[in-house]
């Protein structure tokens, strides 16, 4: 919403009270009408004078410019001009030699084709008095050539504020509401410009029938005659342009100006077209209407239409008028429609048609149901400037339905103001502050009865009134108190474990990435991940991102491929994030999918052994364990180089290498080691706190044994067997060498023995050795000589 300082001043001495334009911007922002930009317009440009076009002439060698002779009261002079929209006799602004234009350009004698230009003719935009892109500004007739153009036009400097008006301030999309707020805050007189007080014509009533009394609760249809359609006066055109709207003609401009001022949209029809009045009804499914913008709109039965007496649509209620009911150059009588429409209905239509207009934006927030008469009077007052013979006819139809909002009543407890704001206010202060904003306060406390004006449909409850008081008191004056910090802040045990886990993953060397959790419908399959439980988005941005991931693997595989394509051959990546499988339970009201937190680590150029080493490290850091079951090959993993990490029947992760077939689909080079964990489950565990054991003071003895292990006997199985066999003196059994030759695999273990009470004897070692060999033999392994 753009507001003009000059316009605000028509409601009271606002800019004087605010002193400077900058301070006015601060006040607006402090009231919650955030100023997004401040633009100074209409500052006079000394040296720009009124000049009369004497004659024009094309130059045979220059087709982009023409020669213009003008008279600025001191004889003819010649200028070159790049525009062609002026004719002899027109008055135009001339920047004389030596003028400095608003953009900083200095006007000097310039030559084109050897002929000098004694100045420059200006467009409205060049002078900062309009947005026009229609060539040189043609000034109204009657101005004296040679006069300062700004003085002659009555242009004074002004300031345009672009406001970001929040949804709860439907009143602030009009100057009236903004000025009311400012006047209340600055404590100055507030008096809106008067409506049309001129003579009223004889009764002319065009009938109005409201067929949907909920969606449309009031329509006033006023006939005005004596209309002469033409351009608006220049100062009104400038005002419209500064407010961001394009001047059309005096009738449309008057409705737009009245809307920008009062916030009430109105629509002017040619009265001849509405001889049988208006009918307001819901559209029929598929009914079409050609709108003012030239488009043909197809309606649903939730769209409200304005129809003529013959039931032919002449407009989409609250959104846009129809093409064939537009006033024309020959219109002399208009029927002005001003209505109150139910806001959410307008919003639905506007959204459905993707058609947001100045009118719909206001109706969907809620206009003042009691502001209609004033708005009509203002249209007439503004229109009378260009139509001195305007007659406003009495007898306007103005049906209302019971759904028209009425002033609401709310209760405000005085003590509640201090309780919420921390700044107590007296009943008297509350009455004064709210009173300035147009709220009527009755009672003296502790409970006040407040009548909420109809232009504030957002205010319904006590807390809304407290917000109004806070706004006008000033947020900055409400004080700052830090709540007493007697509480102990802390991360939860799970959150602390998450940080431990993340640090451990970083320590492995993996960098953290966050790919998008939305996948292409085929992506899970591409990564070899079963997607039976994958959820779909109902309204994805694009089809390629329409499925929610059930595994972190696809995202990381894509990241590997992408990194390799940019020259990082062996990226080492991790992600700790959510996956969103549907879950086994059927969806019930209020239930949610089986969302889980997962960890995935991948490294290109690394093998399964490295992935198992990651698992060993993380398991140790996190104090958790799991069986590594290589018989259960996780989908998408290398068939002979992967395992499921399980705790009994429950899977807690996968470890190994990615299936070469998957890697080929992603175009990834080399092996990819991968570890996936159900991080949420691991984080939720609370590992036993270890109890200290005294360390032995006696030396350790190592027994090294190498076995040739048959296929199917894992190193871990052998290690466990040795551990058990070596007996109570065993401190550790570790695989320290693997040797392969001719299909045979030799595994070398170091069994470390130690006693807490004595130095071990040769006999101890011999018996442990024998027991280990026997145990390995039982598994089918043979001792290597």
């Amino acid at each position: 919403m753009r507001v003009l300082r000059s316009w605000l001043d028509e409601f009271g001495p606002i800019s004087r009270a605010a002193r400077t334009p900058e301070r006015l911007a601060e006040v607006l922002t402090s009231l919650g009408l955030a100023v997004e930009s401040t633009t100074h317009v209409g500052a006079p440009v000394p040296g720009v004078v009124v000049a009369r076009v004497v004659r024009t002439e094309r130059h045979p060698k220059a087709d982009k410019v023409q020669r213009v002779w003008v008279d600025a009261g001191d004889g003819e002079r010649h200028v070159w001009c790049g525009a062609f929209n002026m004719a002899p006799g027109d008055l135009v602004p001339l920047a004389t030699l030596g003028t400095t234009m608003p953009d900083g350009r200095a006007i000097a004698r310039r030559e084109i084709l050897g002929v000098a230009s004694e100045g420059m003719l200006c467009s409205a935009a060049e002078l900062g008095i309009g947005t026009g892109d229609e060539g040189i500004a043609i000034l109204p007739p009657g101005l004296r050539p040679g006069r300062d153009a700004f003085a002659a036009l009555g242009i004074r400097p002004d300031v345009v504020y672009e406001l970001d008006v929040t949804r709860n301030r439907p009143d602030a999309t009009g100057h009236l509401g903004v000025a009311r707020d400012l006047a209340a805050h600055l404590r100055v007189r507030f008096a809106p410009p008067a409506g049309d007080r001129a003579r009223r014509g004889p009764r002319r009533t065009l009938p109005v029938r409201i067929l949907d009394r909920r969606r449309c609760a009031r329509v006033r249809l006023t006939v005005m005659s004596g209309v002469v359609v033409g351009p608006s006066p220049a100062h009104l055109q400038r005002r419209l342009a500064h407010a961001g709207m394009r001047p059309i003609n005096n009738v449309v401009d008057a409705t737009n100006l009245a809307m920008l001022e009062t916030n009430q949209p109105t629509h002017a029809y040619d009265a001849a077209r509405l001889a049988r009045g208006l009918r307001i009804r819901l559209a029929r499914v598929g009914e079409t209407i050609a709108t003012l913008d030239g488009a043909t709109r197809t309606c649903t039965d939730d769209d409200l239409l304005i129809c003529d007496g013959a039931d032919v649509p002449v407009g989409i209620a609250g959104v846009m008028g129809g093409l064939d009911s537009e006033i024309s150059a020959t219109t002399t009588e208009i029927a002005l429609e001003a209505a109150w429409f139910e806001p959410s209905g307008i919003r639905r239509t506007s959204q459905r048609m993707a058609l947001r207009t100045e009118a719909s934006a206001r109706f969907e927030r809620g206009v003042d149901p009691l502001g209609i008469d004033h708005a009509v009077a203002r249209v007439a007052a503004i229109l009378r400037e260009s139509c001195p013979g305007l007659v406003v006819h009495a007898g306007a139809a103005d049906p209302r339905t019971p759904h028209l909002p009425r002033p609401r009543r709310a209760t405000l407890r005085v003590a509640q103001v201090g309780r919420i704001l921390g700044t107590p206010m007296t009943a008297a202060a509350i009455r004064t502050t709210l009173g300035r904003m147009g709220f009527a306060v009755r009672g003296a406390g502790p409970r006040l009865s407040v009548v909420v004006p109809t232009w504030r449909p957002d205010v319904a409850a006590e807390i809304d009134l407290i917000e109004e008081l806070a706004r006008h008191h000033g947020y900055a004056r409400l004080g700052r108190v830090v709540p007493p910090a007697a509480r102990a802040g802390a991360l939860s045990p799970l959150q602390l474990r998450r940080r431990t886990l993340r640090r451990a993953v970083l320590a492995l060397g993996a960098s953290e990435v966050m790919p998008q959790p939305f996948l292409d419908p085929a992506e899970h399959a591409r990564a070899g991940v079963p997607d039976g439980e994958a959820l779909h988005l109902a309204n994805p941005l694009v089809a390629e991102e329409s499925v929610l991931r059930v595994s972190l693997r696809p995202g990381l595989l894509r990241a590997i491929a992408s990194n390799q394509s940019f020259g990082t051959r062996e990226p080492f990546l991790s992600e700790l994030g959510h996956v969103y499988p549907r879950g086994a339970a059927p969806a019930a009201a209020g239930s949610l999918p089986d969302e889980r937190e997962h960890l995935c680590i991948v490294r290109a150029g690394a093998d399964a052994g490295e992935a198992t080493a990651w698992w060993a490290e993380l398991a140790a850091v996190m104090g958790v364990g799991a069986q590594l079951d290589q018989r259960r090959v996780p989908p998408g993993y290398h068939p002979t180089r992967s395992a499921t990490l399980a705790r009994g029947p429950r899977e807690v992760g996968h470890v190994g290498e990615i299936d070469p077939a998957v890697l080929a689909r992603y175009g990834i080079e080399g092996r990819v080691a991968c570890l996936e964990l159900d991080a949420g489950a691991l984080l939720a565990e609370t590992p036993r706190v270890p109890t200290a054991r005294p360390v032995s003071r006696y030396p350790a003895s190592d027994v090294d044994l190498a076995f040739v292990a048959p296929a199917g006997v894992t190193a871990e199985a052998l290690r466990k067997a040795l551990r058990t066999a070596a007996g109570a003196l065993t401190e550790d059994v570790a695989l320290f060498d693997v040797y392969r030759r001719e299909g045979e695999r030799s595994l070398a273990f170091r069994v470390r023995l130690r006693s807490a009470e004595r130095t071990l004897t040769d006999a101890d070692l011999a018996s442990a050795r024998a027991a280990c060999i026997a145990a390995a033999t039982r598994l089918g392994a043979t001792l290597r000589a």
């Binding site: 929040t166 709860n168 807390i463 830090v482 970083l506 939305f518 109902a538 991102e545």
Partner: protein, 339 residues
């Protein structure tokens, strides 16, 4: 003065010969041989000791005995000193031979890089924990009820359309969605935690936004919720100010200006001012709306509260001067490596 006994003269000669031999020993073996020859059991000095009995004059015998003892001790000391000298030289030689260029290492293993969002997230958590807050979490897929209705946005509330919600095909159409803000966690905390509540809720949120330099469909927010007896707007302003100084630095300050959110009232935007005087919009805040307290099962007549929230990604963006948010989510290690 009595003449020097000839035996003493011999001792002196033997000492000199031993000293020369020990000094001349160039390696540990030579030293061992020299020490044995000149100070050992079969050395000249040992031989002189055996002849001591033949000296008849008690004074002379005493003098010769002392000379023999002193010479033996001197040669032992010389041998020890020479041994230490040779040892040091040996170490020096070995050290000189193993010189190494310490810049010669081949790409040692490096710790990975935490995501910039994670870094900002944890820094924010730490500041709030220091201010007495606990950290709450909630699911990223939420019900429409938790994401909107409980936050004072019943169905058909106009503000809903501003959230560009992505809905999930689960349960009744429109019932399940990717949370558009972390605010539903407020409701969960109000329903599940004991009062009073001092909580912050960092998390991942979703909007149906086409990715560009300043928007991502997936991003992160942190919000705070305080519910206690007699909590006022002044406590909100005080907490925002305390956070601003703790997180950004003591030369930063904050301000609140009126705004609108359905779930708070009075509502405010909060801006922070840098030392250079420039104001930066940071986030939204306000007193928890009574309807939201009620939705959380809390009696707004007995308790009051405030809430605030802002984007985590933007913190990372500002801190590191990241021009394009998409870079943060590209998964490119060349980007991750920088932080």
């Amino acid at each position: 003065m009595a003449p020097v006994h000839p035996l003493v003269e011999e001792v002196r000669a033997a000492l000199e010969a031993g000293r020369a031999a020990i000094a001349a020993a160039a390696d540990p073996d030579a030293l061992r041989r020299a020490a044995a020859e000149h100070a050992g059991k079969r050395s000249a000095i040992a031989g002189l000791k055996a002849r001591l009995g033949a000296v008849t004059d008690p004074e002379a015998r005493k003098e010769a005995g002392r000379a023999i003892h002193e010479a033996g001790a001197a040669l032992d000391a010389l041998a020890a000193a020479r041994e230490a000298e040779l040892g040091a030289a040996d170490v020096a030689r070995r050290v000189a031979g193993e010189a190494m260029d310490l810049t010669e290492h081949l790409g040692a293993r490096r710790t990975g890089h935490a995501h910039v969002v994670t870094q900002a997230w944890e820094r924010l958590e730490d500041v709030f924990v220091g201010m007495g807050f606990r950290v709450a979490e909630g699911p990223e897929i939420e019900t429409d009820e938790m994401n909107f209705t409980a936050l004072n946005m019943p169905p058909s509330h106009p503000a809903r359309s501003e959230f560009d919600t992505m809905f999930v095909e689960y349960g009744e159409p429109g019932s399940t969605l990717l949370r558009t803000h972390t605010s539903p966690v407020q409701i969960r905390v109000m329903r599940e935690w004991d009062l009073p509540i001092y909580a912050v809720m960092p998390g991942r949120v979703f909007r149906r936004d086409t990715p560009d330099a300043t928007h991502m469909p997936v991003f992160h927010q942190i919000e705070g919720l305080v519910v206690d007896r007699d909590v006022t707007f002044a406590h909100l302003a005080g907490t925002i100010e305390a956070f601003t100084k703790a997180f950004f630095g003591s030369d930063f300050t904050s301000r609140l200006r009126p705004s609108y959110f359905p779930f708070t009232e009075p509502s405010a935007e909060f801006d922070i001012r840098r030392a250079d005087g420039e104001w930066i919009e940071l986030g939204g805040c306000g007193m928890v709306h009574p309807a939201v307290l009620r939705a959380g099962g809390i009696d707004p007549e007995r308790w009051s509260g405030f809430a605030f929230g802002f984007g985590i990604d933007r913190m990372a963006k500002e801190r590191h001067g990241i021009d394009d948010l998409r870079d943060m989510y590209s998964g490119d290690v060349r980007f991750a490596r920088q932080f």
